[in-house]
């Protein structure tokens, strides 16, 4: 029998490549023989741009790295800069606000993942249900920061704006309600035989492969590797919160699906704890060499001049290099900042989770069907800006 290999070009415009991923797939019938991802269609040169900006002015750029979890990215960057500057303490209220926003972002990102992952496998309705809940989080951000996707409110030394009155209670209400709303998705997907058939046994990863490919986030935890940076290298005082790190057993798509659902519940848990402990007080440190003075005091010359200098010239960071990683929704997000003592970072490397996690797809897709390839793109949970930067 003569066999013929079909070379299929999936993307960059394709409904389920989550943006502009291009996969060069070789098919034998419908079985994937080889799969070579071609990335870079959204490479915007963020690292190069950051080298030419002051530390503060880079914050909006970092938010656009992973646009589904903008605040989580700027949080990682701000924490890295703070560590570079040697700021170890920020006001308690700012710390809790950061935790709440980071966890809300995680929920928003996972909801969007659920929406697209379900849609990729043909289930239309979860998309709408999940996005309905995501809209509520977007509302919180809009109330707090005036912007939906990218609040852009984290600053070195604190947060730029306090929560408006009543927002905490709204967030608390949402965190209490979401686990109940998530039953809708569970009824639609979790026990649905078609869903189980599509996801069980697809994209199985062992612990050794996870280490070999440097995977992180739900991709690593799905295979039972207990690696959550909130636990193993706590930042923002995550060690004082009670939460469970869900671990998978089989390392397949279904396990990772369950893990992400459970992570949303745990995030709700953390939010509830953080809202309960949220103290009153300052939201920014008072070192006006690096941190912005309060906006209402800027009319006063004493505050105006440092504010002006900070905006125009930025601050000088000590010479040195720092690597700081946080647990972004998609995995380990690391910022490696090299400083030469000037106002600009000498080099910033963003170690994004999607970039590393995507690499494994050519291994997972080999020998599977074309439909599985789509499921795999979904389970890796990539965002192309996160891959290409």
């Amino acid at each position: 029998m003569r066999k013929e290999i079909i070379k299929l070009n999936v993307g960059p415009q394709h409904p389920s490549t989550h943006g502009v991923l291009r996969l060069l797939v070789e098919l034998e019938g419908e079985v994937v023989v080889s799969c070579d991802p071609d990335i870079g269609y959204l490479h915007r040169g963020i690292e190069k741009l950051m080298e030419n900006r002051t530390y503060h002015r880079s914050i909006p750029l970092t938010e656009r790295v992973d646009y589904l979890a903008g605040a989580a990215n700027s949080l990682g960057y701000v924490l890295a800069v703070e560590r570079l500057l040697g700021i170890s303490e920020i006001p308690e209220r700012a710390r809790y606000i950061r935790v709440i926003v980071a966890e809300l972002t995680r929920i928003a990102s996972h909801l969007f993942w659920l929406a697209t992952h379900g849609h990729d496998l043909g289930a239309m309705t979860p998309l709408f249900y999940a996005l309905r809940d995501r809209e509520i989080i977007m509302d919180f951000f809009e109330t707090w920061a005036g912007k939906r996707l990218f609040p852009n409110m984290f600053r070195v030394g604190g947060v730029a704006r306090d929560f408006p009155d009543g927002l905490e209670q709204e967030i608390k209400k949402f965190a209490l309600e979401l686990p109940q709303r998530m039953r809708d998705y569970e009824t639609l997907l979790t026990k649905n035989p078609i869903w189980i058939n599509r996801t069980k046994g697809v994209g199985v990863l062992t612990k050794e492969e996870v280490l070999d490919y440097g995977l992180s986030g739900p991709m690593a935890r799905g295979s039972g590797l207990n690696f959550d940076i909130r636990r193993v290298d706590p930042y923002l005082g995550y060690d004082e919160f009670e939460f469970v790190v869900p671990l998978g057993e089989n390392g397949d798509t279904y396990d990772r699906y369950l893990i992400r659902l459970e992570e949303m519940r745990q995030s709700c848990n953390i939010i509830l704890q953080a809202v309960d402990r949220l103290p009153k007080g300052d939201i920014m440190i008072e070192d006006y060499q690096v941190a912005f003075p309060p906006k209402d005091k800027v009319i006063n010359g004493e505050y105006l001049i440092p504010h002006y200098l900070l905006v125009v010239k930025g601050f000088k960071a000590p010479k040195g290099e720092i690597f700081h990683h946080t647990e972004a929704p998609k995995g380990e997000l690391g910022f490696y900042i090299v400083s030469d003592g000037s106002e600009h970072p000498y080099r910033v490397k963003i170690r994004t989770p999607s970039f590393v996690n995507l690499q494994v797809i050519s291994k997972l897709a080999k020998g599977r069907l074309l439909s599985d390839l789509i499921a795999l793109i979904g389970t890796i949970d990539i965002v192309l800006a996160d891959v290409d930067r």
Partner: protein, 153 residues
Amino acid sequence: MENLKDYIKGVIESLPPESLVSHVEFRDQVTLVVRQVSLLEVLKILKDDFGYKYLIDVTAVDRYEDDPRFEVVYHLWCHERNCLLRVKTWASQGEPPTIPSVVGLWNTANWHERECFDMFGIVFEGHPDLRRILLWEGFDGHPLRKDYPVEGR
């Protein structure tokens, strides 16, 4: 914290002395600066004997007008002890700068090294598939080098 420092001290002592140039500590993060010839050896010892099984990141820094010009930086993580280690070395002088590839140790280094090649033009010797990853074939120059303008040529 003290335990970790002792552990890292133990790591440094057990490495072959001629491989290590220096070690720097900054904000509780230790950087080992090693010679390029013994890079693979050091990384293998760290991976096999000290549990640094997770290669977080491979990247490069362009120290423009220095010689050798390119630093290559490896970030390692030990899952058992939850500690970070940074290993740094230089790519060889001349154009193109070269350095041995670590794909043999970690598969994850594959794309990291391709990205370094794409952005800095560092050739990783022994890499199975070294081609541009983010930019397209035929792109002129390597954008993250310091002598490359931000807005392109």
